[in-house]
Symmetry: C2
Subunit: 210 residues, 2 copies
Amino acid sequence: MHTPTRKTAEPTVRRLSLYLRYLEAFEQAGRGTISSGELAQSGGTTSAQVRKDLSFFGSFGKRGLGYSTHELTVHIREILGLDRQWRLVIIGAGKIGSAVAGHRGFRDRGFEIVGIFDADPHRVGHALGGVTVSDVRHLETEVKRLRADMAVLAMPAESAPEVATRLAKAGVHAILDFSTAQLEVPSDVTVRSVNLALELEVLSFALVNR
Amino acid sequence: MHTPTRKTAEPTVRRLSLYLRYLEAFEQAGRGTISSGELAQSGGTTSAQVRKDLSFFGSFGKRGLGYSTHELTVHIREILGLDRQWRLVIIGAGKIGSAVAGHRGFRDRGFEIVGIFDADPHRVGHALGGVTVSDVRHLETEVKRLRADMAVLAMPAESAPEVATRLAKAGVHAILDFSTAQLEVPSDVTVRSVNLALELEVLSFALVNR
DNA sequence: ATGTGCTTGTGAAATCGTTCACAATCTAGG
DNA sequence: CCTAGATTGTGAACGATTTCACAAGCACAT
């Protein structure tokens, strides 16, 4: 596997993630090999796209035959960094935080929830998915102690920027943000936003311009 | 406002949605006008990008002055189709479904939750955010009766494709899917997927390639 | 009324991502 | 060992999106 010369396109990474899901299904089904065309069908793209995506990272296939499902699974896992355990904290024990905490399948894919935080004293101390909710006041020390790699922000937009800054200071380099806030973080911290209202608005646009 | 000649780029629509959020804040703060540069800063883009995005739909600004916050707000709302009420159903009353149902701010933005469905008899009949959970067996008739425009799928991937098909038949043309399934729907139905595991995997990739 | 300073709207250029098309190379079968 | 059939890997073409750069237009001060 050769590391891409410079930064890889995000759409490529997203598709790799999808390919991985389908590969796992194929492997379960006992298929030893798979062609770029078959992978493309599962992921709603084209065979050329699949091959191009993979070619950024190496040559994993055999001409005339396709890809070994098992080997390609291992390769993609390695590319995405899923060949290790990631330690995850959730900030906000409300509806969304609980949903994330209760989402089985995270742990299976290497994401271990090691801490949950909330500002509401009524929530602190209660268990959520086997993890006890801590007071967000102790965020820095706890996050360091837990050696968290990533954080999920499931809190009101008002407090999100401050918490993001504190997380960055505590050594968290990846944040998944469900709030609608615009986070200001150091350049070595990656932030991804999931904004439910925005998704509905894109759907609204699609309906109007149908 | 001139309707764009053909389909508008999705990134443009997403940014419009972000601009709208910042415009509302600016309007709240009593700012009468705003420049493309200021809007760009809020949305993490460039002033040229803002002007280009808006130019697909018309000329809303005044040279030398900028945009009227109020007028631009109204224009973007109209472009996105937020100048009307959308009727929303949620399929799946589990963790994610509850989070969506309880999300205040949807209603404020014109998305009214008119129905919630679940397959689990234990959940049917209970109220969630002021709406009683119905049995998913009655999906078609209920969705038609409620005149739903959009649906949120918050259910296991196994049953999602079937439900998506039934929704399409019942006249729903926009679906926001939280499952990891690949949905097959008629071309006049727009589907958007939000996949939590995938987002974490993109973050994982970012961490590994930092 | 004119000049100054600022900001828009938009072609043109640059960049980025996708699709095409085909040589290279593999397997399997005779 | 050789041929037929399949499928990869990848430059090159294409298409889409972003950035650049500047003329045009407006407000305000003088």
